[in-house]
């Protein structure tokens, strides 16, 4: 269980890079670049451009998402930005504003 978790009261302003799963319950501003999975939970706020393998959003994301495998927007999430990913899943009730590019 080497997951990286950003707790709900944590604010990170900067850049996160790495190669393991990231769970965001707090706020991350700047840039996130991972080779694994990102989970933005209900309380999580991502104000960043994201590069990752997969991203699952329950909370809020503002910024462009580039997921090499999959981007999944769960219900009640709010996403503003462009999504580039071969597989994009948007659940009923999800809020999304931006463009989708599935050619990647």
């Amino acid at each position: 269980m080497a997951n990286t978790v950003i707790g709900s009261s944590i604010v990170i302003d900067g850049e996160i890079t790495g190669d393991e799963d990231l769970v965001v319950r707090g706020t991350v501003k700047g840039r996130v670049s991972l080779r694994e999975n990102i989970f933005v939970e209900d309380s999580g706020v991502l104000e960043a451009n994201v590069e990752t393998a997969t991203i699952t959003v329950h909370g809020r994301v503002t910024g462009d998402i580039h997921a090499t495998e999959r981007a999944e927007l769960k219900s009640n999430c709010r996403v503003v930005g462009d999504i580039r990913s071969p597989r994009v899943l948007i659940a009923d009730g999800a809020s999304f504003k931006g463009t989708v590019d599935m050619d990647a």
């Binding site: 990286t4 009261s9 996160i16 393991e20 799963d21």
Partner: protein
């Protein structure tokens, strides 16, 4: 003993706590009101109202402010704790510590200043301003660049200071020349032209006086010019010597 009493929370990640895993690197500013476990790396600054844990293998290259700081890994940067700083066996800390309580276990490495004043806030400022340059010199390059702009500037200042006096020292030398030129040869800005005029102008005395002052850098050309004029008036041969080379050349040719 000391460890048992001074690190109340275990260093194992608890559910809900913030963890930076070993494969993660964060560069920037991290703030929060909960425990933070660092198994990976954080560069920049950390500000917590709770406890920072740096696990074995964890690296923090940052200015740290927290309630407690428990180190088993590496911290490079100044650490300010409102309560306690604990360095466990295997911990490495390079930087200044400001905390009312400090525990250093056997096998921990630490380099820096310690300030354990009761008044943390003012003491912190003092310790920073006094001690900042030191860690910079001890190899905190990354942190120094990131967090110690003022300190780096302060360190650079002494290096910049010497050139100024040197420049000032050089500046005064022209002024003596300037009056000499102004008196003897107002139009000439180069030393070469002055010398040429010596050869050309028959009244050599004034020019020669000016020339001497210019080369020796004496500020008073008139006093030097007066004896030089008499000397030049008595010694005509020097004036005659000047054309000689030309005559000789002609003769040789």
């Amino acid at each position: 003993m000391a460890r048992a009493t001074t690190n109340p929370p275990p260093s194992q990640p608890i559910d809900g706590a913030t963890v930076v895993g070993p494969g993660i690197r964060i560069s920037g500013r991290v703030t929060g009101e909960e425990d933070l476990h660092v198994e990976g790396r954080i560069d920049g600054a950390i500000q917590l109202s709770d406890t920072l844990f740096v696990a074995p293998g964890g690296i923090v290259a940052a200015e740290v402010e927290a309630h407690n700081v428990v180190v088993s890994g590496v911290i490079v940067g100044n650490v300010t704790a409102r309560d306690c700083v604990t360095l466990h066996t295997g911990a490495k800390l390079v930087g200044d510590i400001t905390a009312p309580r400090l525990v250093i276990a056997d096998g921990a490495a630490f380099k820096g200043n310690v300030r354990m004043g009761g008044e943390v806030a003012p003491a912190r400022e003092k310790s920073r301003s006094v001690a900042r340059p030191r860690p910079v010199a001890t190899g905190l390059r990354g942190v120094a660049a990131a967090n110690r702009g003022p300190a780096a500037a302060a360190a650079a200042r002494p290096a910049r200071v010497p050139p100024r006096p040197a420049a000032r020292a050089q500046e005064p030398s022209p002024p003596p020349r300037a009056p000499a030129r102004a008196a003897d040869a107002p139009r000439s800005d180069d030393d070469d032209t002055v010398i040429v005029r010596h050869a050309a102008v028959p009244d050599e005395s004034r020019d020669s006086g000016g020339k001497f002052t210019a080369r020796s850098g004496r500020p008073e050309p008139k006093e030097a010019a007066a004896p030089a004029a008499k000397a030049a008036a008595k010694k005509l041969p020097p004036r005659a010597r000047i054309p000689k080379p030309g005559k000789r050349r002609v003769g040789r040719r």
